[in-house]
Symmetry: D2
Subunit: 468 residues, 4 copies
């Protein structure tokens, strides 16, 4: 009925130690030396392996409707892809159309996510500000266990919020103890640069980054953090890509503000030469904010932030579209659906380039990919290997080598932005809720076995508002 994981090295954010781990039902029930095993228990040999907490992806979009298309991984294939990559929980974004009810959108998302193979929650997006928005925000937190919101400062004419909405989202969030996650780009500037480029006939994917310069990501980050500071709100800046936004976050943190920053593997490992791949190949990399140029210090700023603590978390922004879907923008880069697959690659990529590359310890990687997302977003039973925690575990072989490829990944995406990347380390087994869901390359994720995790608000404004 249970599991005994024998002889591995448990690695958490704060410690590593050799021990057996006992799982009963969905829960870790014991950690010890030479733990006894009943006949009903399955024994897993983890000698020479790391036993890590299941990774949490705080930033994914499964079956996201977008421009008449839907992102190609649904909650089943997307979470399964994650499991194959060592990720056992996700936080998706519930995104109501502007002017529509959050609670209605929530019903849709709950339906879609019912087929998930791993546990999940949502960030609730606020895409407009109306009479009922504040009340719906309160209901979402109070009645639905959703304690984080999302605002988009870009995507003008669609889901972008203006400063008026931003002000109110921050205010109500602080009151309800919720975190506000922020897509930080100045949408007005993007909109204008897009128009200018298209008007000049510059329509290829290589103009996508030109339309979204790093300076305006920095500006929006500064603005969002200022809005949060006004109310004592905890802000979390998603998918940070550049030195300007890292510097804005640094200033806020050094000034005493409680706030968080996330980046994604693609912003660390890729550079803007990818947009020039032939045969519209650059479209595979189109996402916002864009992948940045080399030699301007962006990549260094991100890596340093991960090791010095200014960045807190690594997500993926998993949101793949097929090449066929991407072709919608064949003659206009602004029509290329934004997004790529990543949930399956995160652990291997970061282990290779972060840990083996000497940039930070495995403990720190666990913190960035599991413990911190769990703590920030209130997933109390996740993010660490400890008694009473959910038995979401990864058995990781640090010595294996492999190559990332769309040919072998479990995502439905037909491209991988990490195609051909050689990596160190391999997920041997992933245990989700006490069940082995991935083993020796074989996926055994069970449709619908994932649960919605209700969360409690903890980020109430603690200090008087700063208004001088």
């Amino acid at each position: 009925m249970g599991l005994v994981i024998r002889g591995g090295t448990v690695v958490n954010a704060g410690e590593r130690f050799e021990a057996d781990v006992k799982v009963e039902g969905r829960t870790v029930s014991g950690i010890g030396s030479n733990l006894p095993k009943t006949s009903a228990d399955t024994e897993i040999d983890a000698a020479g392996r790391y036993v890590l907490p299941g990774f949490i992806d705080p930033h994914v979009h499964m079956e996201l409707p977008f421009m008449g298309m839907v992102s190609i991984d649904d909650f089943e294939s997307g979470t399964a892809s994650g499991i194959a990559g060592g990720t056992t929980s996700i936080i998706d974004f519930c995104i109501p159309a502007p002017g529509t009810s959050m609670l209605d959108a929530l019903k849709v998302w709950r339906e879609r996510s019912a087929k998930a193979t791993a546990d999940y929650s949502y960030h609730m997006a606020i895409t407009s500000w109306g009479e009922n928005t504040a009340d719906e925000m309160r209901a979402v937190v109070r009645d639905h266990g959703i304690t984080s919101f999302k605002v988009f400062m870009a995507y003008k004419g669609a889901i972008m919020v203006d400063d008026h909405a931003l002000y109110h989202v921050m205010k109500v969030a602080a009151e309800t103890g919720a975190v506000v996650t922020v897509h930080a780009e100045n949408g007005d500037v993007v909109w204008n640069l897009q128009r200018e480029l298209l008007a000049k006939g510059l329509t290829g994917p290589e103009y996508h980054p030109v339309s979204r310069p790093s300076a305006i990501e920095g500006e929006a980050t500064e603005r969002a953090l200022t809005m949060a500071r006004l109310h004592g709100t905890t802000a979390y800046i998603v998918h940070m890509t550049c030195k300007e936004s890292v510097h804005a976050l640094e200033r806020a943190k050094l000034g005493g503000q409680q706030c968080y920053g996330e980046t994604c593997p693609q912003y660390l490992l890729l550079d803007d030469r990818v947009f020039h791949k032939p045969d519209f190949g650059g479209s595979a990399y189109v996402m916002s904010p864009p992948i940045r140029p080399l030699h301007l210090g962006h990549h260094d700023a991100l890596w340093s932030g991960l090791s010095n603590g200014m960045l807190d978390s690594i997500g993926t922004d998993h949101c793949p579209f097929t090449h066929q879907q991407k072709l919608a923008g064949a003659s206009d880069f602004t029509k290329i659906p934004n997004g790529a697959a990543g949930i399956e690659d995160r652990l291997a990529i970061l282990y290779t380039h972060g840990v083996v590359g000497g940039r930070f310890s495995l403990e720190r990687l666990v913190e960035l990919g599991a413990t911190a997302p769990a703590r920030i977003f209130g997933l109390e039973k996740k993010g660490t290997v400890a008694v009473g925690m959910d038995a979401d575990l990864v058995i990781f072989d640090p010595n294996a080598k492999s190559v990332r490829s769309a040919k072998t990944h479990f995502s439905r995406a037909d491209r991988s932005i990490f195609e051909g990347f050689e990596v160190r380390g391999r997920v041997d087994r992933t245990i989700v809720g006490g069940r082995v869901a991935f083993e020796n390359g074989k996926l055994m994720a069970e449709r619908g076995s994932g649960r919605f995790i209700a969360r409690k608000p903890t980020h109430f404004a603690r200090h008087p508002e700063v208004r001088s």
Copy 2:
């Protein structure tokens, strides 16, 4: 026919020296030792006095229509008040109502300013963005000798521009070689804070600063400078009041951006206790951004900026309203007309607290109040005592002492925000366009003698746009 100013110490931004100064017509024609004097010349004894270039006020609002009222100094009384205080040129703001033509507004302003007693120009405000705005901007620069624009990031619902407009103003300005002056406050936040305060019954002038915290001045400054950087535009941030905005300007300058910052005497010398004066006395100090609290480092940041070169210019935002006019906001601080008199006080206040106070040299004060505004805004014949320059001169007695007061000033304002301030130094004589317009406390300014000064654009974007 001319003047010979005998035996003074000329002080310019870069030098001080004893010499006679000869004026012919409106122009300084010679500087030398023992200059000959014809019988037609008037001789002025300047022994023991400084001979300074006439100060330039780059930030005034004469007879500004506002909320059904008009600011109480018109172009005649306002420029005369300036002359009494050593200011011989002004740059006013031509402010068309949103959606109306700049060229029409210009006609109105030219009519109003025809009675000016000193030379003048305007910054042209862009208060909305429409189909013709770019063309009008080009016409204003090309045909009307106006090479600086103004945008307000505050005053929502009135003259505030959004980021879309801001983007385009910056773009067209860079193309035409014009400077963009910016009122930097986040108008959406102000609007909301005002509503919140009023809803709580907090209606007195002491809530004016609460509705406009320094953090949002800093945010808007950062945003404006980012917008300017995108296009290579030269931005000039007006009336900076706080450390947050000084820091944003510092970052931009240290990063290589060409941009400028202005502050005003009230932000250096006063603090927010003034808003608590009895009998609605605080209303006299209501202006935006507001006068800041002590002990938070704002005043130090401004003084340091003036001496270390991060701030470039000192204006006054001269825009007085009478107590009677201020009473329009007796039960609602958001209805108090914003503004106060200052043009007549600037030189004396800054000489006392800047130069005598040991913070910077008299040369630096001349630079901040005359030379820099002239250079930044293209007043080629102004801002320095030199041959060929306009004979706008101030004979300044450094040893005199006096007290600033509404009782003795020449402005029509019935209050002085510097009431009772003891100052060192006195303007003995002011010479405007070669004529003595103020002498020994007696004003001889001549209605209509001031000329509109057409300017040439010089601030073309020199570098490729920074877009990474």
Copy 3:
């Protein structure tokens, strides 16, 4: 023969969870729900209590010979005092006289510390640079399990090192994988300021801080970090007290340097008014660097650093002298022996002002006081509650209240710098190496039961030296 700690809430740096903790011998052998207990086991009820890893004090001086005196807590009383306060391991400083052998000093320290009641290690001080110093450093790391060094940039004429020595210490440390801990103050300046003050007859303890301004702590911090950067050395700045040094550390960390910072409770909670206590009472607070003035931002910089991750660790610099001993400086503050007691107060003070005060979480406090010191200094079996780790544990009652006082503390110090401080939380039991050493206010620490912990070097320079 073992312990079962029943029903508590384990709190580590990365997690909190309810579980029983089983101890066998000196080691935590199991963590689980309803752990079985043999008849030989003692059961401890921890319901409603936190079970924390034993705190580690990375900065103490027991029985330190100084100016003909010896600090009043020896290794027995000092470690016992620590145990009463929840500290179960210490790192002392082995300080050879300049020009003498480290290995000889080590013998002396090992003798002295044999009576310790808790586990210990030493940082080895380098107090001069000679022909054999590099070889001795290598031997200390290789043969003696000591992987951290200490340099004093102050105490001129005694143990201060100059930049030449500092350069070489950093170099050899990087080669051997050791950390260099640094007392950062410019000793030349201190020496001169002391002479100037005494020459003016300013001899009281209130002149101690005047002789050691914060600017020179900042300068020395910058210099030490630069020296470390040259070689790729991991530096650890001890007892940071001021914004200038925090800013220097921030710059280094944000620039990608691996380095650490420590502060102590006294610098967070006290201010320089303490030096004015009557009857030479200020002498009790004389330590270096000094306790800083309020209102200059020093305290805020330290608190922010603890919560935003720029500071890594909290030590105490425990080094008490009696009032009688302090009187050696009655007529000359430079002769007051430097130091005070603190090891017993740290946990309670920080729990109260850090955790209850809302500045950071209990998890973060555990990280600052236990996990981080263990990881930085290579105490592999310490700093966290986990299987296989040393059974150094604290049972902490968060609801109790008490008052800190020299009358009730276990240190031999006759004064407490926290006299009268009301605190929240109480150490109910401290378990050291699997044995209950403190229980319900009763100390049962066993002389000589502490062990020297040999450490392994891990901080080898990973990056090529930065030399441009």
Copy 4:
């Protein structure tokens, strides 16, 4: 007997205007339109030319004894070389051997400089600290008109001062109102790196920069500025080369400290590839601090500093040695005499790359090369074209083109570090003390016509010492 310079455009730091300039004796006596000319006057046609103040080189070493050699330009040839390049005054460094009397050294320097063809002063170097040093400093200021000192934080074993000496120099300077100029490099580190390189057989000039990394220039700059801040001393950091030191200066200035920074053309225009020139050609570029690598941001930091005001002055560190002399270090780069020629190139190089290159205006160049050095160092009658000022003038043709070369320069140096550089603009005439000393490529400088300029101290500490 005088000169009338007719029809040129005078350019000062604060203004440009067309005017005739009249010179009588050594002095500018009049500036005006159509100035009358007596028969005794020589008329110089300056139509289409700029009339600039003679440039001042605040950093030169003429006939400097160094390592048994003497720099190859003496006061005659060096000042003549300067005149050909538009420089009409120099400040040399009087450098007593450690332990010897400043007043004795002063006699030697006054003798040497008696043959100068242009006006001069000295900075007095403090190369050790002894009993009489403070008194000699006071005498130098009071009796000898020398109001600036120099300290070297590098050149260990020779003229380097330690922090003790630095402390006292700063203290006495503040008391006497003198400026302290600082060579900022950590000499202990340099000494060690030199030894390490030589020990590895790395002896070529390409290892010179390796032995003096930018980090230690930054460190020393921070240290010097801290020492100055302690006493309220005005510090002037000479020959800044790198971002680290620029950032240290920025921090000080932004924090309100009065201090100054200088760079030199070689640090702006060259990069460290020069050290690899064949046939020991790299030796020509050996100077300290060294020329820096490209692509690390050093050059940008310097250029930005010149335009944003963080750097104040441009010197040359003119100190040429012949190739024969450089060969002293043929097998050991530490024995290569440090220095190169530059006084003759400065104006042309900076006009070309600064003004024509669009980085700053000609007014700013005049400020950096003439006005600011004059103001900072108290050369009251220099640095600007104004009545009563010394008639040191440059008639500059902005349209001419030429090529810098050792073949054509007037310095005795047999190499030019700017060999082959194409430049815009040409010095048509240089007027020194009212006499044409250079005209149409012909040098008419008169041996011994230069005067020592006694200066007055002005940089007294104005604020209470900052000691917290």
